[in-house]
Amino acid sequence: MLTPELTQDASASAFASYACEFERAGDVGLLHRLLSLNLLRYLQDDLLVKTDRMPMANSLEARSPFADTVLLEDLGALPPWMKATPLGLKRVLPSALRYRLPRRILHRRKHEFGVSAGRWFGGELRGPFEERVLDPGARTRETLQRGAAGALLDQHLSSRVDPGPRLWSLFVLQMWLRQLERPPTPGLPPHADVAIAERNPS
């Protein structure tokens, strides 16, 4: 979807960082290389950032005991076959806690913790998306191939394929770029005036 220049840049820089981390893990086998990459990028740069900021924004403190460094080192020393094999996951944690947790918790299936943002773009967010992202003056025009955003929305509205997360990213990117254009109000932290205006549309 991105312009050719941005696509080139993204694959060169962003991907190189992942490949480098994967290589740096060394000769520890495929699974541990992948786990190392996940810890250093997905957990550290993505998940933990969000589960720290969002509770904090609501005066709540969230702690992540599984991210404890001593625990991570100990678990990292476990052999890979105890964690996953080509035939499936090994579920070490439920096994270890077999006698400590109730059955209904032990046997509960893994569950996603997400929202179906895609659905909104067929409904209440369709108008706002068209208004902001498909506007000829939209800031995202500079980053996207011509017609890509509209095509994505059409694809979403007409098919079984769900590009919801990408629609959401475009929507947020457009609003963020627009915020950056506005001069900050004296006495407020940068962009707080926009956040307040969005929350209380008059």
Binding site: S13, A14, A16, S17, Y18, A19, C20, E23, R24, G26, G29, L30, L31, L34, L35, N38, L39, R41, Y42, L43, D45, L48, K50, T51, M54, P55, A57, N58, S59, L60, E61, A62, R63, S64, P65, F66, A67, D68, L71, L72, L75, K83, A84, T85, P86, G88, L89, K90, V92, L93, R109, K110, E112, F113, G114, V115, S116, R160, V161, D162
Partner: protein, 102 residues
Amino acid sequence: MPTSWIAPGSVERLVLTGDGGDEALAGYERFPATLLADHMRLPAQRGTGAMARQLPRSASYHRLRRCLARFVGELSLRSLIGTSRGSSPSAEDRGRACSRRS
């Protein structure tokens, strides 16, 4: 987004999250998928990532279609980063600091 939604509903001031468990103990289905692809020595396919995205995604986390999409997606990943059977990095390469995304 979901975290920010449930946070105001907490009556406690301190909550615990499970973040890190899936990374420390391999909790994602993509790990067996990658190991299987590696085990079967399936040829890494550039472009299967796009193919995986075209597969209809099931809303449910466990549906077969979703697993299939993951599996096909992993083949694309392997074409980009190589596999465990690939070259082993030199000590110098290993010590090199990996640049951040920013």
